[in-house]
Subunit: 373 residues, 4 copies
Amino acid sequence: MAGSTFGTIFKITTWGESHGAGIGVVVDGCPAGLKLCAEDIQAFLDRRKPGSSRYATQRKESDCVEILSGIFEDRTTGTPISMLVRNTAQRSADYSDIASYYRPGHADYTFDQKYGFRDYRGGGRSSGRETIGRVAAGAIASKLLAELGITVTAYTQAIGDIAIPDADCPISLLDLEEARTNPTGLPDKDASLRAEAYLKQCMENMDSAGGIIACRVCGMPAGIGEPVFDKLDATLAKAILSIGAVKAFEIGDGVKVSVTNGSTNNDSFRMQDQKVTKTTNHAGGILGGISDGSELILRAHFKPTPSIFQKQETVNQNGENITVQIRGRHDPVIVPRAVVVVESMTAITVLDLLLQNMTSRMDKIKQFYNPIE
Amino acid sequence: MAGSTFGTIFKITTWGESHGAGIGVVVDGCPAGLKLCAEDIQAFLDRRKPGSSRYATQRKESDCVEILSGIFEDRTTGTPISMLVRNTAQRSADYSDIASYYRPGHADYTFDQKYGFRDYRGGGRSSGRETIGRVAAGAIASKLLAELGITVTAYTQAIGDIAIPDADCPISLLDLEEARTNPTGLPDKDASLRAEAYLKQCMENMDSAGGIIACRVCGMPAGIGEPVFDKLDATLAKAILSIGAVKAFEIGDGVKVSVTNGSTNNDSFRMQDQKVTKTTNHAGGILGGISDGSELILRAHFKPTPSIFQKQETVNQNGENITVQIRGRHDPVIVPRAVVVVESMTAITVLDLLLQNMTSRMDKIKQFYNPIE
Amino acid sequence: MAGSTFGTIFKITTWGESHGAGIGVVVDGCPAGLKLCAEDIQAFLDRRKPGSSRYATQRKESDCVEILSGIFEDRTTGTPISMLVRNTAQRSADYSDIASYYRPGHADYTFDQKYGFRDYRGGGRSSGRETIGRVAAGAIASKLLAELGITVTAYTQAIGDIAIPDADCPISLLDLEEARTNPTGLPDKDASLRAEAYLKQCMENMDSAGGIIACRVCGMPAGIGEPVFDKLDATLAKAILSIGAVKAFEIGDGVKVSVTNGSTNNDSFRMQDQKVTKTTNHAGGILGGISDGSELILRAHFKPTPSIFQKQETVNQNGENITVQIRGRHDPVIVPRAVVVVESMTAITVLDLLLQNMTSRMDKIKQFYNPIE
Amino acid sequence: MAGSTFGTIFKITTWGESHGAGIGVVVDGCPAGLKLCAEDIQAFLDRRKPGSSRYATQRKESDCVEILSGIFEDRTTGTPISMLVRNTAQRSADYSDIASYYRPGHADYTFDQKYGFRDYRGGGRSSGRETIGRVAAGAIASKLLAELGITVTAYTQAIGDIAIPDADCPISLLDLEEARTNPTGLPDKDASLRAEAYLKQCMENMDSAGGIIACRVCGMPAGIGEPVFDKLDATLAKAILSIGAVKAFEIGDGVKVSVTNGSTNNDSFRMQDQKVTKTTNHAGGILGGISDGSELILRAHFKPTPSIFQKQETVNQNGENITVQIRGRHDPVIVPRAVVVVESMTAITVLDLLLQNMTSRMDKIKQFYNPIE
């Protein structure tokens, strides 16, 4: 297998298991000259850290990033940026009981089938800790995009059936400050409190909950994305589905489009301030796989955490039916910690296609290599 | 841009515009020794041909495939299989009026922004005809998978709000024969008749409809798909979203997972006939991005055809607001013709990851290169 | 296998066998807006056509190219350019005798080992005709580079031991007009006549000859090529060795460097006309895998045509030792027809890395996306 | 840029600068179940360590490898293997003088042109230390190949004009034990002593020397390598030229083929012990880009170390002509330390194509997925 690399120009390779020496990422293809320091990365990592709320596992993990290469005098050099987060809290004993059987909803069985055995400690490579590498790379992509006037913002749109009223309302009406500080990631204080009550009940039931994360990209230039296979939306779909526990992806109106009509779903073009704009954005900012200059809107649907404390039926490696009860510390919902992961994967994807787009036109290439003529 | 290639081992490259000389595909990495002839391809292409029903454009297109390379004495040789379908029905005059403005819901504007100009005839590269190449390649992938006991079956699950009762019912209960012969692709005669009535009304309203296509893969071995970025579901999501007009992708229970709980959503493992099976299949056949041996289930949500005959507001290339009325022949719904496209992209993706999986284990590699020892 | 694609941004995929329906190439990632017509391609193809001299096979092949996609109103559209050359002269009967045994120096045995059988007609995929696709793509790359002031020129440097006096003399001193018109490709009339005499003798001996092709690139900007694995010279080496019959590759002083010293081999930098230049060019225009702005110089060493008419010992598919005598029409030397292939692969490689280089610097990316602001 | 990754299935990504925190590599796509520990890697790294002879720089570098992921209970898990070697001996002060000017023969100028500035400490990313990552990955590839009966052996063939008598003599006649222990890597004690005398003289002259490294692969199965662009020899050429200071690559008879004839150069096939063999091996084990089952033989030509202590002319970043004299510690010849790098890149390339080859035949794929059942 060789599936740990994502991207064509801005290319990330993640590595690491939950209970190995550490987790990391190599970012290749980052342009030279971007101001960057460890704090930029750490700020992103802290957003996915456990222990920030009672709905996240209480393990004490420092998750301190070390930049090992690719930076000189606080700027990227154009060479690979290697980043490392040591695992500090691993206690293999906690997980030894799951070595012999397959947890329902987990990748235990499929890893064993694929590789013949597995690193059973804490989910190994399929652990949520793998996303540390993505988030570290996402911090770089986001910072670079910001210098081009492009901002990527993800937030919780729903936990269980508690959803914010209209996912497609203008981003300016969302309380993003609230979303960053409350334990659910919902950009609405009241909804967040209700979601907390729901999660509390899930925990009492020894059960878990799912939810939805939305992500928006403002300031997109038109023309980003390649027709046919490397469409912007198709590449985003892969990026988002590659996050563990995501079971559905929507762009713009998403699943609603099957029940609407063309006369409603088509976004009219209109001139505004001498620029081509759309009067609506059912398309979610993409036409024919290419950005149209309006806001990008996507949604990721997360399944409930598979680790629940109820008794469950499963089989063990000897092929016997057994009943198990998982112990340990597990989030009752993945969504709040995954917000920054969705944001990171979106930023990485948009940046990669934005860089690819630089070679699409002969006139611009001529200008690039002969800037004065 | 370089986005016309899909796959790692089984690699397809499509080319061609709606009104150029033709449409085609190069399939590289197809194993040697597969029995293959033009009829195998033609049978698939005929499933996407227009004119098979009144809900598809009535243009007369032969869409006859010619295999140009890669076959010798009716077997694949392991070298690239190049296939060509000539465009025969192009009449550029039909489309000359759309050269100067941007059709709402189409890729006219974004192509112009990306490339500086566009081949405006019939949608150019963003035309639905591009999928001919995918379907020709899909025919090969499907035939190869069938030899391994793996069958891929797509069908219409919904047109507008007319949906078959339960998308997740056993495939054996679906009337697939009906789906192959009626004009909607719905595997239920009654639903299909209601969908026809709905489409008739859409056409009277000079409007269009959306719908849902489901796809199932039976006979999957466990272990297919790579952890992290090249997960089976993530790669399928990209494959499916790369089809024009798809706005959402679901695997297994899809968007329903956000409102369920872990105790319900987890599929229990149980021994059956000395094999590990799951008692339910909310996961849609994938755990941690890797096939678990149960049926693969995915859904694609298609937007309504953007070409409608009502008056629409848009802008032209001079930056003026105008009102336009598109003429010509356009399907009121894309879904029935797209069924074989979804099936093809699914087959291509599954096959590519199945081939990639052959290198995952040392013991099997040793056995492969030293079969007797 | 999936080895028929070359390049990252400017990506070519060749297909076709000697005696199938035709030979072709898909060029993906060609920027939009390049003036291009079939004559541009044909001019290149004519340079590799057989029958132009008595040292090339006398088969009558028209090798007329048809452009099937990617061009609109005489300009590239940014979408894949598919090109097709029909095989017209195939007579399988000529080759039926070689179906059962392995020609020495050919790929018959290795194809059988890899694929279980082979298309034995005329070498199948390993035929020199495969290079038609490369040359068609090379015509596009060369034309595009020319618009940026970059010219790629290949010529024969040696046939057997008849070599032009100094391969590294200034390109202005070479008689390139002579090279284009004489049957050897040597840029020196006298040397060419001597080479002709040598080839005549080889033919009388029912034997064949090898030779060397040099290629130079003038007008290179500095900075092209990626450090580490995708170095300009490394990528050129792959491009050139991928041409059948090439057994060695040199950049700059090449094999001479092992016997020189650093004090001689280092090229001093000096200012000239306010530009950084090198006083010598032992490096062949590349330092650390990146172009230094001076002329690029490479050489490819070709083995003698393996098809000779002498009796040879070999084995057949039944594992029996046999003596064979190959019949048919075969060039006594590959070199003259391969000149344009070397030129094409060089142009394709340089262009691809030149496009990749556009994303290397943050300041230039900012300028690209915000040109005036 | 994104050029730090090599390989398709067995994929390595190196990172790190001479004077950053460390150097490393991520190996993705290594099959699961290979016995592996840090000592396997360290043994390879020790072969490239400086200080092992007076012809290598005397810096004291420990170069201790740490395996950060991908190993569980002493076996590879199929997930990425991340390896780290900390830089311990960096003293930036040593290099501060070279920040302002361009060393002849180095990549200082080209990095500045590409990226706008450079990490000037010790050559930054273009330092020979980058090869640590390659060697760490090569140790894994070599160990895996050994389990399949394939051995990769590199050695010094020449330093300056002191070459071992016949590079193509049977490997059994080479004194490989001598090559591993003497300071030149030449598999001949007398030649090594003469080379030492030559190097001593180079050092007295404040000059440097070049040389040749040969590499042989025994036990190759036939069928490895993909026709057309991913030929075994073409991919090896890229792998070897990507090593800094290599200026030429030869396979088999290499540069000698241009002056030979087909009747001499063709290797006859003969049956031996009921196997197809070749009576000679001018081809170096490859026909049509695919291994023929005989020994693989390649050669890499290294230029003299560009760092010499004589006065040299160059320019500085202000565009002024200056005379410089480089100080510090530099090897008078790169070759002895590069032997293990050539061996590593060869092993990585062979392994990657060997894994790719597993999908070439339908009959073997069927057998793989339905072995007997």
